[in-house]
Symmetry: none
Subunit: 418 residues, 2 copies
């Protein structure tokens, strides 16, 4: 009989409920568990309150096979996770002399240990103790009533280190499966169109499975497979990936990337090329995004933020007459900006953006009208976009930047640019 491994992560700490800290422990543990094929079905957070914690443990017992707690193991009076969990599973807390010794080594002040420091050495009888490599409070794990309980400290560094070193090997013994997941990054069509295209297949798929996710100005398709080994899981993913690539073609800009600028950087690296930028309505966001990537200086020379017309002329050499004739929000000015900055800085490529990010218009164009240009040695391309008057300023700016990086990646990989 196959054993089930539905897991609940139960985080204990009033600071989480006040919003003073983010629950990164639950995210970290979920990510690491899903890699070894253990399904996290629930996260819950409760404050430092014994009655409410007890109720949450009872709920977790009723719906999960593995309960992972984080937080509430420290020496202060509001740290009550061990007491409550032991009680809920009918176990006594006993003093672990090895832990007492290591507490002495760690925080020996020459004056002995305080009463509440000793509390950290009180652990459920018969448990496996997890040493804390970055702090004092040890964690532990036990099996009882057909459930597995793992208790980890709250501070993210301690929690993560203990999970990786002690809890993961402990849990891996229980599972025979691995879970592998890849994201195909998509720009050019939205999440709901992707969903339309693959809805039938997705509904019929169980393992491997596939699901679309919207990001701010692009989206992704996540393909996940569960198998006995990593190789086997990868082999299950391969035909699904191939099918998606066949349907979507070059709308897929990468795999497991965070953003389009990473795809642009990869393509610049492959071709050994540099670029510059001349930005009006994006106001420096293209430069900022690319230079967030470590190693950007090998590909990005610099750029101009030409917010007013005179600066378009001064820094990028856009002719005053052209600005007067065509206005700043035009195909021609976008082209002149890209070509001007490319020549000025001696870059292989240059991108430019000019348009209306709102909230105010210019009386001529609608908010959301943006021209994006790419100047290359052989020619310049310009995309004209109308993103809609209801889009926010930050959406319009981010989307314009995505178009610029998309044009670069397409040019560098020999695809249609416009």
């Amino acid at each position: 009989m196959k054993r089930a491994f539905d897991t609940e992560i139960l985080s204990v700490g009033t600071e989480l409920l006040l919003g003073h800290v983010t629950n990164t422990d639950a995210r970290d543990i979920s990510e690491m568990l899903s890699r070894i094929g253990i399904n996290v079905k629930y996260h819950s957070v409760v404050g430092d309150n014994p009655a409410r914690l007890r109720q949450c443990v009872e709920i977790a017992k009723s719906r999960a096979d593995i309960i992972v707690t984080t937080g509430g193991l420290g020496p202060t009076c509001d740290d009550l996770t061990k007491q409550v969990l032991a009680e809920c599973f009918g176990l006594r807390l006993v003093r672990d002399e090895d832990v007492v010794r290591s507490l002495y080594e760690y925080i020996d002040t020459g004056r002995g240990l305080t009463e509440n420091t000793y509390q950290q050495a009180m652990l459920p009888e018969g448990c496996t103790v997890f040493p804390n490599s970055c702090g004092t409070a040890p964690g532990c794990a036990f099996e009882k009533d057909g459930k597995v309980v793992v208790m980890l400290p709250g501070p993210p560094k301690e929690c993560r280190a203990m999970f990786e070193r002690s809890a993961l090997p402990y849990l891996r013994r229980l599972s025979g499966e691995v879970l592998v997941s890849h994201a195909l990054n998509i720009f050019g069509i939205g999440e709901s169109r992707v969903d339309d295209l693959f809805a039938k297949e997705m509904n019929a798929m169980i393992n491997p499975s596939m699901a679309p996710y919207a990001k701010e100005c692009d989206c992704l398709l996540q393909i996940t497979a569960k198998a006995a080994s990593e190789e086997e899981a990868e082999a299950m993913i391969a035909p699904v990936r191939a099918h998606v690539l066949e349907v979507l073609g070059d709308l897929v800009y990468g795999e497991d990337l965070e953003c389009l600028e990473q795809a642009a950087m990869q393509a610049l690296k492959e071709r050994g090329m540099s670029f510059a930028a001349c930005e009006s309505c994006t106001g420096g966001d293209i430069a900022r995004r690319f230079t967030e990537l470590p190693g950007a200086s090998a590909f990005f020379l610099g750029g101009a933020v030409t917010y007013v017309n005179a600066v378009k002329t001064e820094l990028a050499g856009v002719p005053e007459a052209l600005l007067e004739e065509k206005t700043a929000v035009s195909r021609e000015v976008a082209q002149a900006m890209a070509e001007g900055i490319r020549a000025r800085l001696g870059a292989d490529l240059a991108v430019s953006v000019t348009g209306l990010a709102g909230p105010d218009g210019d009386g001529v164009h609608e908010v959301g009208t943006v021209f994006i240009a790419l100047a290359a040695p052989e020619r310049t391309w310009v995309r004209e976009t109308h993103m809609g008057v209801n889009r926010t300023r930050s959406f319009i700016r981010r989307m314009a930047g995505n178009h610029a990086f998309d044009m670069m990646r397409r040019y560098l990989r020999g695809m249609d640019v416009e």
Copy 2:
């Protein structure tokens, strides 16, 4: 009888359980609710699964007065929050024609709307609709069976904006008392120092109350008063504000602001002055941040992102000999960049940044060494900062920008700049 407002935040999305994203929505909502005196007692997370979501809703109904959901409102087939919530409260979903109209405006492609886009206009009968200012899926709220239900979209920007604009006023109505809260924005000392300075008073205060909050590169003191009317609450806050201002002086850069660039813009407006920027390691982030503010074009002329040395010379006129003698990361080059761009663009003021944001060093300076300059008609000031080798790239860039905006605001308001 005082009504209870125990709250559960229920987040829906398999991506949270896979650890692909962090539950920042729960953190943001918790923080904002605690400021208006509503207690969050539980967070829970469940995947895109109707049966498990239904169980979670039943648990939330049994232990909370207010249920706030996040996620699962989008157009794809795994978005099921509205259906399940409506079902659990015995409500039908009905089509909201106002929402259909706004969907048309938002994403009209000339081909009409797809079937799954329409789904977003299906809302629980009798609910209050919350428009989505950053996306398509609307949120909503209703009261039923003595419970209040609020449904918000999952993407953090959409969730936060809708919570602030629509959900917060909706929830505030429920409470008979008025809660007024003001944040004093602080730059130049950290949250823990602020905590030290006011710890005694804060511990003794109940209403009004005061609490420090750390932001990414600055901090704030939140003063909150609860009273029968807004005027009464404001009158309770006034002496506390006066005391804080007396202790902190010009370290307080504003009140209820989001960021330092807003303080800089206010000061530029008061003095009717313009500025330009020349950025090396911030890579356009100063220009990007300032131009995120609507109306930026009245004060910001433009700037240069001078990522490589040749561009510092080409766009900002920094002498090659100076770059060779002092290196790019120096007080002298920072000064030349600010003065160069100021003269070139004819701005009243100019700021510049040059330094090491990491992760790689230059073999001479430590990562975190950054020079920030402000050039004004009468002279130029330079700040030298050492942020520490353990800071992240994005922290160093943001902090450098904060220094630039702080120098501008101080100059414009006649305070010490260095």
